[in-house]
């Protein structure tokens, strides 16, 4: 996610260059979709949110301040959209489904898709504040500083939320036999 390259692409988008838009969508579609999926726990909702994130980002592109990294800006939109979506729908269906599907499994039998479902179920047991920091740290691979910029919270708060979230995740994964 090179910020110089992103800024150049944004300049071109502001000139109406759709090739530049295509490059930005190619670069960010996958990470934004994955972050939304891990926050929401549902692939269809994550796809809708990803589309909505790009729509909102490009509607407001002229407000984007190049002093900041584009990826921080678009992730902030993604997290806000995801949380607002959950608040609007407050659906727990996917959580129930995921938890029902997960059962304790011997470590040698843990395959990637099972692990993915167990991790997702664990994430959905966390409150949003904790879940979001875990997603940004472990799935979006952001630094404490970048997380603090995206969520507009102090780095100290990022660290303390991560600490608490990890304690809960450890217990959850241990219960499900994958830790």
């Amino acid at each position: 996610m090179g910020s110089d390259r992103d800024h150049a692409l944004i300049k071109r988008c502001l000139r109406g260059d759709r090739r530049a838009l295509g490059e930005l969508v190619r670069e960010y579609e996958r990470p934004i979709y994955n972050a939304a999926y891990r926050v929401l726990g549902n692939p269809d909702d994550a796809a809708d949110i990803t589309q909505s994130v790009f729509l909102r980002a490009f509607e407001r592109l002229e407000q984007y301040n190049p002093k900041y990294k584009f990826f921080s800006w678009i992730y902030r939109i993604a997290i806000n959209e995801s949380i607002n979506f959950r608040n609007r729908h407050s659906k727990q269906q996917s959580l129930v489904e995921d938890q029902a599907a997960v059962s304790a499994t011997p470590e040698e039998e843990i395959d990637a898709s099972h692990l993915s479902r167990v991790i997702q179920a664990g994430l959905m047991e966390l409150n949003e504040d904790y879940r979001v920091v875990v997603v940004l740290r472990h799935f979006s691979e952001m630094s404490y500083h970048d997380i603090s910029v995206v969520l507009r919270i102090p780095e100290k708060t990022v660290k303390s939320r991560l600490y608490s979230a990890r304690q809960l995740m450890k217990a959850s994964l241990a219960d499900k036999g994958v830790l």
Binding site: G2, D4, R5, H7, A8, L9, K11, R12, C13, L14, R15, G16, D17, R18, A20, L21, G22, V25, R26, E29, R30, Y33, N34, Y37, P43, A46, A47, T50, Q51, F54, L55, F58, A112, S113, L115, S116, I119, V134, R137, H138, F139, S143, Y144, K159, L162, Y163, R166, M169, K170, L173, V178, L179
Partner: protein
């Protein structure tokens, strides 16, 4: 775990996350040597991090990118042209009259190719994209493929003049340097459809354009009237922070 000091827990977490300060390294290592609770906590966090790392990414549904591209609207493509450097050649430009830039470029084209009607829309098409190429019988193409910069430059003949069309892409800010064959041509003008290049400079037989991202602009050269006509040799180099990324030349087969 209750015996683990909060400060040590913070250091362990920072280490796992790759955020431990160098000045805290010794304190952490001492704690790990002396505390079973610290070692156990570190082991648990490492295992948790490994579990997250082993979790595969989820593929976005097929067609999502297309849905996004179809739904996003961008500002209309800019067509306003900016001109610079033409004052020596076309005196009225130096008066700085508040004339639309498009009109000015049309006058420039009229002077370069008096036999052809000034076709402003056609000129814009040739600079912005390849859907409406300007009519030229000969051209020479220089393909640029350097580290972090790629694209092409075309040299096209006009009546008593030459047109250099740039279509380059760079990852970061680069300087495009144009070395003119000053025995045959001199700088005649510059047109940038986007009006937002970072810097433009003409010095003797050298023209330099600095920008990052898309380099789509046109440089006009005019034949020196006192010399025999013939294809000029044009040197093109691309550099970043003084380091040459690409160097080449082109001349028309006219």
């Amino acid at each position: 775990m209750s015996t683990l000091d909060e400060r040590i827990a913070d250091l362990i977490q920072a280490d796992i996350d790759g955020e431990l300060k160098a000045s805290d390294r010794v304190e952490l290592e001492t704690a790990l040597q002396n505390s079973e609770a610290a070692r156990q906590f570190r082991e648990e966090l490492l295992r948790l991090a490994e579990r997250f790392q082993s979790t595969p990414e989820v593929d976005p549904p097929e067609g999502l990118a297309r849905r996004i591209l179809d739904s996003v609207e961008l500002p209309a493509r800019q067509t306003l042209l900016s001109l610079s450097g033409m004052a020596d050649w076309f005196r009225p430009l130096s008066y700085g009259l508040a004339v639309a830039a498009g009109v000015l470029i049309a006058i420039g084209v009229e002077r370069m190719a008096p036999q052809q009607p000034a076709d402003f829309s056609k000129l814009v098409g040739s600079m912005v994209g390849k859907d409406k190429p300007a009519a030229h019988t000969n051209s020479d193409i220089l393909r640029v493929d350097g580290i972090g910069v790629r694209g092409e430059v075309r040299l096209k003949p006009a009546e008593q003049a030459w047109v250099l069309e740039f279509d380059l892409e760079s990852d970061t800010a680069v300087a495009v340097n144009i070395r003119l064959d000053t025995a045959r041509v001199q700088f005649g003008g510059f047109a940038d459809p986007a009006t937002n290049i970072d810097a433009f400079e003409v010095s003797g037989g050298d023209v330099q354009v600095k920008n990052q991202g898309h380099h789509q602009y046109v440089v006009f050269l005019r034949d020196r009237p006192e010399t025999e006509s013939g294809a000029p040799q044009i040197g093109i180099s691309v550099s970043r922070a003084g380091h040459t990324l690409f160097d080449g030349s082109l001349n028309s087969a006219e």
